[in-house]
Symmetry: C2
Subunit: 188 residues, 2 copies
DNA sequence: TGCTAATATATGATTAATCATATATAGGAC
DNA sequence: GTCCTATATATGATTAATCATATATTAGCA
């Protein structure tokens, strides 16, 4: 149940509402590490509250719908600290593209190249997003030297995200080049 | 529903039983691309059969429990060919370690290094498995030059899997080194 | 006036994946 | 004789994630 712990981490930074989490966090800072659906966020908040790891204060607003502001509890902080120090099994990657390629021998080269190019485009877009994120963090680092420990860790994390994308892109480009030298299905 | 398509791909290679899929494929060749639980395999086979993408022949065995041997149908082959040519959205990676690091500022360096080292160990083991797999495919390539198109694609896929692991390992080693130069939480 | 966008939460339905367990047969080890 | 392993399939339960929709308010625009 890692989403619960992501939310605990975010609530330890500061109190937030479900809406904040969705719009300010999961669409933003943490989005490269963990994506979460709005429905899942609200349901996870309910579960965290029922476990007493967070509490809720309703903030009445007159110009807008009321907000349910969540705060982490001591029990929640203890749980988070424990989780942060626990090793978790490596997650399984399931990439449709790799499966497609694995079974692609029956397709003509042209179709394979097309597939690789579409993937390349999607990955390039993702890397661009990721780099924008990185620069935002780098800018923060410079303007606020006191919080450097946290920011260094954030940069470390984003470094991997970026490198991972770059590895993928390099591989895709090489794969596309390789396809030109691969004898086609119909040309023995 | 990609598992269904992985199974279609495997059944196009040759007819198989659910048990074959689990023990010969998902524990072996395809395991670095897609993992599947035994229960999910059998249920997916039922679903594929009800969609008429595969058919089933019961093979009576006297020394062992009977086997249900599945074959791909023409409709199944058409579906597979279509799926193989369709671009799918990039899968979301959710790596607990990255989340942990993102929120790790409150932990002492020692705890962070321990976390990284445990991850390193797990990744090293995975890379070793992966390299064994690669060598097996390379050996096949040499002994059977006629099937080279398929084998070249398989190598291409395994190349990425290996490079991805290597990127991860390099990053982990660098991260551990970096931790020694990071001012600790309790040492301002 | 009606439409859209932003703010804010909630719930039903479904899919995908995992875990646990049940059943049945045969062969080999001790 | 009993236990374990390999072969083989099936099902119940649960979790995690996604999709679709519902509801309610205010502000701004055409």
């Amino acid at each position: 149940m890692s989403l619960a712990h992501v939310i605990l981490g975010l609530l330890q930074q500061q109190e937030r509402t479900g809406y904040d989490l969705k719009t300010k966090c999961f669409n933003d800072c943490i989005s490269h590490l963990w994506q979460a659906d709005q429905a899942q966020i609200y349901r996870t908040l309910d579960k965290l509250e029922s476990q007493a790891w967070i509490t809720c204060t309703v903030e009445i607003q007159h110009d807008r719908p009321n907000r349910k502001v969540y705060q982490i509890t001591e029990a929640g902080e203890a749980e988070l600290t424990h989780w942060l120090q626990t090793h978790h099994p490596l997650p399984m990657l399931r990439e449709p593209l790799l499966v497609q390629l694995y079974f692609a021998a029956q397709l003509p080269n042209e179709a394979i190249v097309y597939l690789l190019e579409q993937e390349l485009e999607a990955r390039q877009e993702k890397l661009a997003q990721c780099e924008a994120q990185c620069e935002a963090i780098a800018a923060l680092s410079l303007s606020n030297p006191t919080a450097s420990r946290e920011q260094k860790l954030h940069r470390l994390v984003l470094d991997l995200v970026k490198q991972r994308e770059q590895t993928h892109l390099d591989w895709l480009e090489k794969a596309i080049r390789d396809m030109h030298t691969l004898r086609d299905r119909n040309n023995p």
